[in-house]
């Protein structure tokens, strides 16, 4: 049952991803990106990681794609139906293929043969318990990373004036 749902979601995501890179309208591209990210959220939920799934919706769909749309609206050039294309297709395909091969390899190596135990769910509390005891340092580093991003945004804003 899980496999069938997974396959359906995966196929939908693949179609949306292909449309995302082939569409000529960047805002439509953002909408396809939305579909891909929603599919990823659905897969997280299917793998019992419901907190991660909804965070995916909240952060990627609710924030990052909105940021993208805002960016598109600020620049006049790519709005609307202008064809956006250049001659680097072969190079882009190569880079994308390499990234795909590498991430798949890393993922397969990391979780080789492991199965998810569907009898117990991963609650937020388990996640929080691990995050705030075992992985405290990465968590605090995240705050520094966010601070750096914030300072970067402020500097960008000030240079404009």
């Amino acid at each position: 049952m899980h496999q069938y749902v997974f396959v359906v979601i995966g196929v939908l995501m693949a179609i949306a991803a292909v449309r995302l890179v082939t569409t000529k309208n960047v805002v439509h591209g953002a909408l396809y990106l939305l579909m891909v990210l929603a599919g990823a959220a659905a897969i997280f939920i299917l793998l019992l990681a419901e907190f991660v799934g909804w965070v995916q919706v909240l952060l990627y769909i609710g924030a990052v794609v909105v940021l993208l749309l805002f960016g598109l609206m600020l620049t006049r050039a790519p709005i609307g139906r202008t064809a956006l294309d250049n001659q680097s297709r072969a190079l882009a395909a190569l880079v994308a293929g390499a990234i795909f091969a590498m991430t798949s390899m890393v993922l397969v190596r990391a979780f080789d043969g492991q199965m998810i135990d569907f009898s117990q769910t991963l609650t937020v509390r388990t996640l929080g318990g691990v995050l705030f005891t075992k992985y405290v340092l990465p968590f605090e580093v995240v705050s520094v990373l966010l601070l750096a991003a914030l300072v970067g945004a402020v500097v960008l804003a000030k240079r404009d004036e």
């Binding site: 049952m1 939920i45 019992l48 419901e50 907190f51 965070v55 909240l58 952060l59 609710g62 924030a63 990052v64 909105v66 940021l67 805002f70 960016g71 609206m73 600020l74 620049t75 006049r76 709005i79 609307g80 769910t121 937020v124 509390r125 996640l127 929080g128 318990g129 995050l131 705030f132 005891t133 405290v136 968590f139 605090e140 995240v142 705050s143 520094v144 966010l146 601070l147 991003a149 914030l150 300072v151 945004a153 402020v154 960008l156 804003a157 000030k158 404009d160």
Partner: protein
């Protein structure tokens, strides 16, 4: 199998399906029953009653983008706060201290943006 975790999402998916079908159905049905009278004047966009000048798509100020960036950063912070809040009483004083450091660092960022007058609108 439908009880428990996947049972919850089964009911939930049914609700989502019903909402999507009804909203989509309403749009389609309205398309079938509503009149359609084509007139060229009706197709122009609204601009105080006179013919619109120039295109509809214009650039807007970079300020909106800055606020969107700040929004993403603080949204990430808020997302970290929720799992922390659920385990706060279990972990105790340790969880308290680490979150205070986290909030302090991001608060510093907010103060920086404030002092640099990015949060002002004009």
């Amino acid at each position: 199998m439908p009880e428990g975790y996947f049972g919850d999402y089964f009911t939930f998916g049914m609700f989502a399906g019903l909402v999507v079908v009804l909203v989509g159905g309403t749009l389609l049905l309205a398309r079938l029953v509503r009149p359609r009278v084509d007139k060229d004047e009706k197709l122009s966009t609204y601009e105080c009653g006179v013919d619109p000048i120039g295109g509809g798509w214009t650039q807007s100020t970079v300020r909106y983008y800055i606020f969107a960036l700040l929004f993403v950063i603080f949204d990430v912070e808020a997302v970290f706060l929720f799992p922390w809040a659920t385990v706060f009483e279990e972990i105790g004083i340790f969880a308290f201290i680490e979150m205070m450091i986290f909030i302090a660092i991001l608060g510093l960022g907010l103060v920086y943006a404030w002092r640099k007058k990015v949060l002002e609108w004009i």
